[in-house]
Amino acid sequence: MKSLPPPRVSATHKVPTGIAGFDEITGGGLPRGRTTLLVGGPGSGKTILALQFLAHGARDCAEPGIFVAFEESSQRIVANAESFGWNLAALQKKKLFFLDAQPPPDLIQSGDFDLGGMLAGLDAQIKSMGARRIVFDALDVVLALLSDPATRRQEIYRLHAWLLARELTGIITAKAGGDEDSNASQQPFGFMQFMVDCAVILNHNVVQGVSHRNLRVQKYRGSSFDENESPFLIGASGLVVDAAHARVRVDAKVSNERVSSGVERLDTMLGGGYYRGASILITGFSGTAKTTLSGAFAEAACRRGEHTLFVSFDSDRNEVIRNLASVGIRLDQYIDNGSLRMISARSIAGSAETYLVRIQTLAKEHGARCVVIDPVSTWYKSANDLAAQSVADRLIDWSKGDGITMVCTSLLDEMSNQTDSGSPLQISTLADTWIHLSYLMQAGERNRGLSIVKSRGTAHSNQVRELILSDTGVTLTDTYTAGGEVLMGTLRWEKERAERVAAEAAEANAKLKRVKLDAEEAELEVRLKSLQTELVAKQLEKELLVRSIQSHEGELSRGRTQMKELRGADATNAADKKDSP
């Protein structure tokens, strides 16, 4: 309550009711020393709310209380409330007093009467037990005996004045028709609503065959309060009201911490996993492995030692465990060690609000840090659009407020167009990460494709990946994309194999060519060598030739000289000078 702006009636002037959610709506409880009117149709939970208020006071607040029963006998009320575990019988000795004030069936009435007798008796009782709280249950029963509206009004005034004078925190319950419009105009409670300091209206409607309970604080003098209708349910330990968190919450804790999705490659696609406290939506048609993906997340959470709540609307707990075990997700061990709690909600009948409050209660009990709801689209069926939408909003609001990482799956209508992947609940706009699973039909196969539609605050892959389930786990593979088409499954496999073969062939070809070239090179080298040898031979030959020519010439000149010498000619020198260079 500390986060609230200081209300004009401070929390110390309020009396806690001990009803989860109700004290949040009213900012602390009912006005102390004032009267609260509780109006509702049959079976709307008036008596239980009032009784819980008294039981809480007697047990936890040291405020003894008195219950004035005009309609049901106190034994029956105590017996009916037995299942809530308030232990009224023990409280009854000292701290809780039941006054049976049912008009006897054989009551004979002659003329007018008033409630003075009862109030006098109550005065004595209050003094002797020090009562601080009082409930008048079904005041309308006794008022109905009064002949005219004026007298009724007078008795209400008397009662109100009496309550105020004694500074008792009081609840007066009164019946009213189902719809609110008739309440306001209905005498004398219409005027009672003006008189009292706080008025709460309980509604119990049936919409499309599903029961919806909600309550609304109609007025609360001197205090701010949540003015909207808040769904509530009658749970195992009394009333639980689903208070909208928006009023109380300042800001959700925002975390940069990442938590694993349970699928390694998906974490990579998301740039490290989901954010803690984020809301993740997984959409897809039936059989696209939504449950498997959320199961992987639950397993990963449990492996980190975080308490996890898994709510399945589709199948029984054991079925889910068995089915997930077939893809290597073993949850049974975590159920055994207490970190995982699995709830099959198929058995719970009720409105979306009922589910929401139940999930919240269970999560709180379990101390869950991660919650899986599979699938939330069930709510769409069990409620009208508006209610389901508001529940979805509140669900996300709640999980964010409590820092709970939540994975919701949502079933898409089989008949709807595959490209139109909007979630019927429109959670998609609220969810932080939206993963869409789809089928790709190709070559007589259905293959699962996973794509990340959005993921706030994280870089994420834009690619469609193929989701492969095997008995060792869940994994993603790249899809084969070529020529503008995406191939999956066998086609992808075939394509990949064909590519491999082609690559091998090319490699072999290259090898062959290289060998050929090697051979040619070798041949050329050999030829080069032989030519070189030939060249040397030729050179030698040439040299030889030159030498032989020289020697020949030498011989010749020598011959000539000799000849000259022999001839003894004179012109030898001149001839030598001309010839020799």
Binding site: A101, I108, Q109, G111, A120, L122
Partner: protein, 96 residues
């Protein structure tokens, strides 16, 4: 119901509240008219004896309890409708 029956009444009233005062007056008139010499009235003020009222289950005032002759009957209100009271006490027919 025979003519000799003795009537014993407890009338619970809330101090001098208008309804209670009316009831006291109406009861006195009624008894004088219909039950001359065979009645007994005790007037209990719930403000003075709240425990007794509570124990007796008196929630509406005024309440008249007719203890005898049996069965015990309770009549709530100012006792302004004499016919109702006669009927309740089994005195119908005797009044004429």
């Amino acid at each position: 119901m025979n003519r000799r029956s003795h009537f014993k009444f407890h009338l619970y009233v809330a101090g001098d509240a208008p309804n209670s005062a009316k009831a006291i007056a109406n009861l006195a008139t009624f008894c004088r008219t219909h039950l001359a010499e065979r009645y007994e009235i005790e007037i209990v003020d719930v403000f003075r004896e709240p425990k007794r009222a509570l124990a007796e289950g008196i929630f509406m005032t005024p309440t008249l309890i007719a203890l005898t002759p049996p069965p015990v009957r309770r009549i709530v209100g100012t006792l302004s409708h004499t016919q109702t009271v006669l009927l309740a006490l089994g005195l119908v027919g005797l009044a004429e």
